[in-house]
């Protein structure tokens, strides 16, 4: 399996997202410029220029027409995917950590960092189908816990919001009322990312406590635990096989003090059901910060602290190997 090395970012990667068709890969990095690539050959199509801070996350509509990005410059921007034009800017006043379209893409979920003594917050905004009608008002604001929320996603049918953050707790909120429905103290250390399965029935969390866990989206029940050897920064669920992939490595600040082999900068595959390690994909020379599976499950992309995106298309053996 020869990966495509996609060099375009000048700072560590933060987030990766495929569009629904799997032909485009959107990448976010700390260098202010979200980038879109052809997933097939790794060619860079273009960048979305306008942010003035690290871009933490993005989401794209099902028809691949509109991109939303959230940035530490305290704005959320809507972009025209094809032209790279900024369509609308929400001024959030506080650095934004995560944003996501709802099912149907009429709502937008935004989380903001704790700032000036205020706790982290989850915001729900309406997204107009027609950009000219877009308004700035917020439908719902949930005051989150102290400590950053690193990722929030929509539950089934937009009825719930699931958030995870620095306190290691996974919380489920009512998306209508903002009421806290359920919480799990799942991890001993900060949860750095959370990724849903394709059908939204379960999700995986990645934590600095060197483990990743699989949850039931409706009950927040912990189903599986995957034990890694270093902190886990990102995790993703395969849409095709019963596999999950974990990425991470020792903290970036320690990288220079130890040999590169000590870092564990591998994307590690686990069997989703047996919790057994299947293998690893090496390559990055810094911790892995972001992971995403192709929607067809025939490849995956990883983004590292080293500023590279590596696009892997699986060999045929991957699909025939015995679990």
């Amino acid at each position: 399996m020869r990966p495509l090395l996609m060099k375009g970012h000048e700072r560590p990667l933060t987030f990766l997202r495929f569009n629904r068709d799997g032909d485009l890969l959107f990448s976010c990095a700390k260098d202010h410029h979200p980038t879109v690539w052809y997933a097939d050959n790794g060619e860079r199509i273009g960048t979305y220029n306008g942010h003035n801070g690290a871009v933490w996350c993005c989401d794209v509509t099902r028809d691949s027409s509109t991109l939303v990005t959230g940035s530490a410059d305290a704005t959320v921007k809507l972009w025209d995917v094809a032209s790279g034009r900024c369509l609308y800017t929400f001024d959030m006043k506080v650095p934004v950590k995560s944003t996501e379209f709802s099912v149907g893409e009429n709502l937008l979920l935004i989380t903001t960092d704790p700032f000036m003594g205020a706790p982290s917050q989850i915001h729900v905004k309406r997204r107009a189908k027609n950009v000219e009608d877009q308004e700035d008002d917020t439908l719902l604001t949930i005051k989150g816990p102290q400590g950053r929320i690193n990722r929030a996603v929509w539950g089934p049918l937009n009825k719930t919001i699931i958030s995870a953050g620095e306190d290691g707790v996974v919380r489920m909120w009512d998306a209508e009322t903002g009421e806290l429905l359920e919480q799990r103290e799942a991890h001993e250390k900060a949860i750095s990312s959370l990724a849903l399965s394709p059908d939204g029935s379960h999700f995986i969390t990645a934590s600095a406590d060197k483990s990743a866990k699989l949850f039931d989206t409706r009950s927040l029940e912990v189903l599986k635990t995957y034990q890694a050897e270093a902190r886990v920064n990102a995790a993703a669920i395969s849409p095709l096989l019963d596999h999950v992939v974990l990425g991470g490595g020792q903290e970036a600040q320690n990288v220079t003090t130890t040999s590169s082999r000590a870092g564990k900068f591998e994307a590690k595959f686990f069997h989703k059901i047996f919790e057994e390690e299947l293998g690893g994909v090496k390559g990055h020379f810094g911790p892995i910060n972001a992971l995403a599976f192709c929607p067809d499950g025939r490849g995956f992309a990883s983004g590292g602290e080293d500023g590279y995106v590596r696009m892997h298309h699986f060999d045929p053996q991957y699909f025939t190997m015995k679990a």
Binding site: V103, N254, A262, K272
Partner: protein
């Protein structure tokens, strides 16, 4: 509360809620077994720490006073003279306080009463004095009887009438060697990580450790097996404890507050515990207390206390700090003697009365280090050159208890000596670092003593290249060979020598030299023949498994960042571990002796890996040879067992996987149902965009007309 505490009443008050009924038969509960979470006493006040903690100061405040009896009874005119004599004798072992010497006088006869009180500055001085001047012969008729003042109370309480001690009913003790009877002859090991202590079977067949016993917060700093594996010792604030038997019950406690280190005698008869007390005043020296215990009875046999400086090694060369163990036990299983390094002497103690052997130390002017033969009471002493260089450095062998010097060797321009005993006591290798002519650097060499031969002949091994350093040296246990890592650069050579020539004569023979190896430590199998060349720490855990009989490498491996290598006592397995001195990769790996990785376990904050030692084999050499000869036939049975077990295990694993798979499948069905139910709702959320699935693409042809340019042309 009343119904909870139905008789027999427990010894502690338990804070239980009234509405909870605990159905506990208190007669069945062994209170010693109850473990509380660390730092939490659940409202139960522990009795353990209180009664175990004797005052650090003396009980009555008179601890620094001694009473000397059997003095001459003298008239007043001789009184002052006698006081002068006594003062002279007793000032040798400590400072007598001002007005600290009082010899009572009979009012009627004006004669002195024949006893005196002496007050020292410290109780330690009083202790030392008692030890050294008791039975001091002033003259034929006056042999001093020295008693500590505090002891009077104790002795006066002794009843005049002898009462026979009550005979305790015989209690069957647990079999301490139960683990040797494991059907599959597995070995045990203990690991300590975070706050946990766990004992496992090494189950190579299953390819994983098999838990035997787990106990959180078993010890406060470390655990230690006894040399024959019967006990495991733990360390606590009030003292040390030993545990054993199949139930891992506590066998004895040794009350020694703030105990820091401990050491077993090789025959497991005695235990030495050590504590040191930081001085309250920086000008004072550190106080050190050593206790020697009888393991089976749990009784303290002797306590030795003093200033840290008295126990620091280095002799005349200066204080080099305390090196554990302070006491070195003589070889063999008898535990007859133990010794420690003193100033210009080796103090050898006899375990019969725990006192100095023949009441005096073995004189050795300027001695810097010593070691016992692992086999017999034979001391090897090293005395460095005196500063002027007039007296050469010396290595001498002294037999105990006769104190006869069996052999000695003078060595010139020596910088340092290090002694390596052959594990069976057959040879002694002394590594000698000598100065070069310029005195700017040193070069190594070896003096090899054949202990078992008549007159103990010595052979010399010189290393040809004078710039080379010796990185490691190791004798082959149960054999005549040794291995040596020597070299200049980062890739040294490894050489193997034999003390016997090919024809079996006593002649030092080079077997082979392996060039440019990544190794800095040597680990022989306890059975000999195999050796692990390990590159630890800076070399990142390179391992090479080498067969010395065939002189070939069997396998190489790597345990990244490994800090420790340990052979199991049978020589079948090797454990490599990364302990918490490294920030990452903590855990251990177990290898077969051929260098095949069997399994690995990762544990954060990993502190200790210790194989449980085994007592020596009961088979004699000929029986062992017989077994080796018929190994093929004998091992058949075990190979078959292994195979059967492996198949069974595979089956088990498959079964477990199937079960997991079924459970997950059921859950997926459940999810799918939800998903189907919500299909319509989802569609409506998406404004009628129905597809959830990839296949249902809608193809829409869109014609886009774009005006590229408009040009106006005026036609004619």
């Amino acid at each position: 509360m009343a119904d909870v505490m139905a008789p027999p009443t427990p010894p502690h008050e338990v804070a239980a809620k009234d509405d909870i009924t605990l159905d506990i038969d208190w007669s069945q509960v062994n209170l010693d077994e109850i473990q509380l979470p660390p730092g939490d006493d659940l409202g139960i006040h522990s009795d353990e720490e209180e009664d175990d903690e004797p005052d650090l100061e003396t009980e009555s405040g008179f601890g620094n006073i001694i009473v000397v009896d059997n003095l001459p009874e003298v008239p007043p005119e001789k009184y002052e003279k006698l006081v002068g004599v006594i003062r002279k004798i007793f000032a040798r072992t400590g400072t007598i306080r001002e007005n600290g010497l009082w010899m009572p006088v009979d009012e009627e006869t004006k004669q002195s009463k024949g006893y005196a009180f002496i007050e020292y500055n410290t109780p330690q001085e009083a202790d030392v004095t008692k030890e050294q001047t008791d039975e001091y012969k002033l003259d034929k008729n006056h042999v001093f009887k020295v008693t500590k003042f505090d002891d009077f109370d104790k002795y006066s309480k002794v009843p005049d009438q002898y009462v026979a001690p009550e005979k305790k009913p015989y209690q069957t003790k647990e079999d301490l060697l139960w683990w040797l009877q494991d059907e599959r002859a597995r070995d045990q090991f203990v690991i300590r990580y975070a706050a946990e202590t766990e004992v496992y079977w090494n189950d190579a067949r299953l390819g994983k450790p098999d838990l035997v016993y787990h106990r959180p917060v078993w010890t406060e700093s470390f655990v230690q097996w006894s040399p024959l594996g019967s006990y495991i010792a733990t360390v606590h604030r009030p003292g040390a404890a030993i545990w054993g038997g199949e139930s891992w019950g506590r066998l004895a406690r040794f009350a020694h507050p703030q105990v820091r280190l401990l050491d077993f005698s090789p025959g497991e008869k005695y235990l030495v515990t050590y504590s040191s007390q930081e001085p309250a005043n920086p000008r004072d020296t550190q106080k050190v207390t050593l206790s020697i215990w009888d393991i089976r009875s749990g009784k303290k046999l002797r306590e030795i206390a003093g200033n840290a400086n008295d126990f620091a090694v280095g002799g005349a060369a200066g204080v080099a700090g305390i090196q554990w163990p302070i006491f070195h036990w003589a070889g063999g299983k008898e535990d007859k003697y133990f010794a420690r390094l003193g100033k210009n002497a080796i103090s050898v103690y006899d375990t019969k009365d725990m006192g100095l052997l023949d009441k005096k130390s073995v004189k050795a002017e300027g001695v810097a280090s010593f070691s016992w033969s692992p086999l017999e009471p034979l001391l090897a002493l090293y005395t460095p050159e005196t500063q002027s260089g007039n007296n050469p450095a010396r290595v001498s062998l002294v037999a105990i208890p006769s104190r006869v010097e069996l052999r000695q060797k003078n060595l010139f321009s020596v910088s340092e000596c290090k002694m390596y005993w052959h594990p069976a006591g057959e040879y002694l290798a002394v590594k000698v670092d000598r100065y070069t002519k310029t005195k700017k650097s040193t070069y190594p060499g070896f003096e090899l003593f054949r202990i078992k031969e008549r007159d103990i002949p010595i052979e010399v091994l010189e290393i040809e290249n004078k710039n080379e350093k010796v990185v490691a040296f190791a004798w082959e246990p149960k054999g005549h060979r040794f291995a040596l890592i020597h070299g200049e650069g980062p890739r040294p050579d490894v050489s193997f020598y034999s003390m016997k020539s090919k024809t079996g004569q006593d002649k030092l023979t080079l077997l082979t030299t392996l060039k440019a190896k990544q190794a800095n430590a040597l680990y022989w199998s306890p059975q000999g023949k195999f050796i692990v060349l390990a590159g630890l720490k800076a070399i990142n855990g390179q391992l090479e498994f080498f067969n010395v009989d065939e002189l070939e490498t069997m396998a190489t491996g790597e345990h990244y960042m490994a800090t420790d290598v340990d052979w199991d006592p049978t020589g079948r397995f090797v454990a490599t571990s990364v302990t918490a001195v490294q920030p990452m990769e903590n855990g251990f790996q177990v290898w077969s002796f051929q260098g095949k990785l069997l399994y690995r376990v990762t544990r954060d904050r990993f502190f200790q890996f210790l194989w449980r030692p085994r007592p020596a084999s009961l088979l004699d050499a000929s029986t062992e040879a017989e077994i080796l000869k018929n190994l093929k036939d004998l091992s058949k049975k075990y190979l078959e067992e292994d195979e059967a077990a492996e198949q069974g295990q595979n089956k088990e694993l498959l079964e477990k996987r199937r079960q997991l798979m079924d459970e997950f499948k059921a859950r997926q069905e459940h999810w799918h149902k939800f998903y189907e139910e919500e299909r319509e709702l989802r569609r409506s959320l998406r404004d009628g965009d129905e597809s959830d699935d990839e296949e249902d693409y809608e193809y829409e042809e869109v014609e886009v007309e774009e005006v590229i340019a408009v040009t106006e042309e005026i036609v004619g």
